[in-house]
């Protein structure tokens, strides 16, 4: 992999972490409300997958989608403004954190009813296949989402009609408070794809290079019209399910197991009914981000000065995003009505 791509991925992961931690802060201050699902710990998945995609590919995501949106190119300002519920947000203040949309960038939405991303993705895939275009659809979903009927229904149709869809499972082992072995008889998500004869594999979702590689290969195969693929990324979220969830249900033994793999989770020991601070996360040692930094260091591709510059840059971007969001006006009910009537084309009813 070229250094440029690697650096860009590192930058996006740093931005993702900084943005999400800041969003948590803004939520605590009351500038963001509702359900806020954050992504720290899982950055390697969105960053690895989306860097391997083409701008002409479509993205369908869930309610935990801020990072997907930014990596896809939606300016952090417009994402933050949406979290603030403002007019310059990417959904004009109508959608909020769980419903980011950007038609121009083919970001086809954040869907908040679990299991909705599959049918939307195969619908877009159907249109792409019908038109004979070299595009693909990337469909994100969680480990808990595979037990919704739409998962099997959609995988069957995708395979049956060889639709150009890449299904990406972000397996963070939890469906809110329910651990994967308590919600799924088969805890290896990728194995379910074989019921529909969809080639599938499992990758280390904490390793951005591995995610990138697997995605690039799968998309290559999809573009040669061989039908859908599925990738399961094993990952972990450091925070609770959302800002409303302290995440204290995770048993000590498991946290300890993850500590060995990723010492950041030290901070979410069962005895601590609170979130880790950014300092604690930083002090806890290497995670997906630190892993990449280490690898680039070892390869002589990153100096301390370059890293500092990157960190300063993303801090600035986040600062700017918050200022932009705070300055953006609130939408009005007339804006809401206009959004509802967006497809009326001037027709007057009754």
């Amino acid at each position: 992999m070229d250094r440029e791509t690697q650096l860009a991925m590192l930058r996006d992961m740093l931005l993702a972490r900084a943005f999400e931690e800041r969003a948590a802060e803004e939520y605590t201050k009351g500038n963001i409300a509702g359900f806020l699902h954050l992504y720290p710990g899982e950055e390697a998945v969105a960053v690895g997958v989306l860097h391997a995609a083409e701008p002409s590919d479509y993205i369908v995501s869930t309610y935990r989608e801020h990072v997907h949106a930014m990596v896809r190119g939606i300016p952090p300002r417009r994402v933050m403004a949406e979290l603030f519920g403002r007019r310059h947000g990417c959904s004009r203040g109508m959608g909020g954190s769980m419903h980011l949309f950007d038609r121009e960038r083919r970001f086809m939405g954040g869907y908040a009813i679990v299991g909705e991303t599959y049918p939307v993705a195969i619908g877009i895939g159907y249109a792409v296949a019908m038109r004979g275009l070299p595009e693909a659809v990337i469909c994100f979903f969680g480990d808990g989402a595979v037990n919704q009927g739409t998962f099997h229904e959609s995988l069957n149709m995708a395979a049956l009609w060889r639709l150009p869809v890449l299904f990406v499972c972000e397996n963070n082992r939890y469906q809110i408070g329910t651990e994967i072995h308590r919600h799924s008889a088969v805890a290896e998500v990728y194995k379910r794809a074989c019921a529909h004869r969809i080639p599938a594999r499992r990758v280390d979702g904490m390793d951005v290079m591995a995610v990138y590689q697997a995605t690039a290969e799968a998309l290559g195969e999809i573009r040669s019209e061989t039908g859908p693929r599925l990738i399961e990324c094993e990952t972990y979220r450091y925070r609770g399910h959302s800002m409303a969830d302290p995440g204290t249900y995770r048993p000590k033994v498991e946290v300890q197991a993850y500590e060995r793999k990723d010492p950041i989770t030290v901070a979410i020991a069962e005895t601590l009914p609170r979130y880790p601070t950014p300092e604690e996360i930083a002090a806890a040692g290497p995670d997906a981000i630190e892993g990449l930094i280490g690898a680039m260091n070892d390869a002589g591709r990153l100096t301390a000065a370059q890293l500092d510059a990157l960190k300063a840059e993303v801090t600035q971007v986040v600062e700017d995003a918050v200022a932009f969001a705070a300055a953006s006006p609130e939408p009005t009910l007339a804006d809401a009505q206009a959004a509802l009537d967006c497809n009326r084309n001037g027709e007057v009813l009754i």
């Binding site: 109508m94 909020g96 954190s97 769980m98 469906q175 308590r182 919600h183 939408p331 009910l333």
Partner: protein, 326 residues
């Protein structure tokens, strides 16, 4: 003796009481067990009754609600918790095509002692997919009964009655009521589950409300009283059936009717309530019945717009004034 209790605690006590009395009662839903329920309603029950009676489910609303139907057919009393009413759209087949139909289609052979509990309503900036009310959808389904408790006391009474009923009950709670406090008399005898309750007597108009709109209507009535307008406030408590007699008796005295609902007005619950009471009280009404409801919009995420989308106490006061011609 009444004790102060949060709404969720009253529901929790009701579940506990019925589970202790009857082994055929069991709970299932997402995060109801180990986690204790998203709104704490099932807290402590997993430890007390074990995993067969408090079952954490996958995210499979259609099938676990259907499971409730199957279990009810053979005499169990399942209490299915759907995390919010928005997700019950995925369970409509089980609720509408199965629970409401099988006892009838079989010529009356089977019990259907199924309770489907879920919160509805606009909470705080949860956006369009998570802010729906939808009770009017279930109102149109013969074979279902619908309870909508507005107070801690009714949460305690009505949930126990729902569990004991052999009919399928759609039990609609409210996200903003879980942490409201009220007196609960655990020993007092419960009125029938579908009986409406008059919370306040006044001569000038009748305000009919339910669920969270009861509290807002009572606040509005207090303000109206300061202006010399005396309102009767009725809490329906049940949306199918509706206790028309209580409403009619009041409207015959006040001659004015205002229906307050949180959902959009068009084809909402208020449409049914106003139409029926207009038919029954036509010659007693001084003015046409009025309905106050939410706007015809999916709920915007933005907090200011969201607040403008559902009735506020000031809106109720204004509607009452208009009705009374002041």
């Amino acid at each position: 003796m009444a004790e102060e209790m949060l709404y969720w605690q009253a529901l929790n006590r009701a579940l506990d009481a019925e589970m202790a009395l009857d082994e055929s009662v069991f709970i299932l839903g997402e995060d109801v067990g180990l986690y204790g329920g998203s709104y704490r309603v099932t807290e402590g029950l997993y430890a007390r009754y074990g995993e067969w009676r408090v079952r954490d489910t996958p995210i499979s609303e259609g099938s676990f609600t259907g499971l409730g139907v199957g279990a009810a057919l053979v005499g169990m009393r399942p209490v299915v918790e759907i995390m919010t009413i928005n997700f019950s759209l995925l369970a409509l087949d089980a609720i509408v095509n199965m629970a409401a139909k099988v006892p009838f289609m079989s010529g009356g052979q089977f019990p259907m002692a199924l309770v489907i509990r879920m919160p509805g309503g606009v909470a705080k900036q949860l956006a369009a997919q998570h802010s729906q009310r939808l009770e009017q959808m279930y109102m149109n389904v013969p074979g279902l009964r619908i309870a909508v408790p507005a107070t801690s006391q009714d949460a305690w009474w009505q949930l126990r009655q729902a569990i004991r009923s052999d009919e399928p009950i759609v039990f609609i709670e409210h996200e903003l009521l879980y942490f409201s406090k009220g007196p609960v008399d655990l020993e007092a005898e419960a009125p029938p589950m579908h009986r409406a309750r008059v919370h306040r007597q006044g001569r000038d108009l009748t305000i009919v409300a339910y669920s969270r709109m009861l509290d807002l209507s009572l606040r509005a009535a207090a303000q109206l009283a300061e202006e010399g307008i005396e309102a009767t406030v009725i809490d329906l408590r049940s949306l199918r059936p509706i206790d028309w007699d209580t409403c009619v008796a009041s409207v015959e005295q006040t001659h004015r009717l205002l229906v307050v609902e949180e959902d959009s007005r068009f084809a909402g619950s208020g449409a049914e309530i106003a139409a029926e009471l207009a038919e029954r009280c036509f010659y007693h009404l001084d003015v046409p019945p009025a309905r106050l409801g939410g706007r015809e919009l999916p709920t915007p995420y933005n907090g200011t717009s969201e607040a403008q989308c559902i009735p506020r106490p000031s809106d109720i006061v204004a509607a009452a004034r208009r009705l009374c011609g002041t």
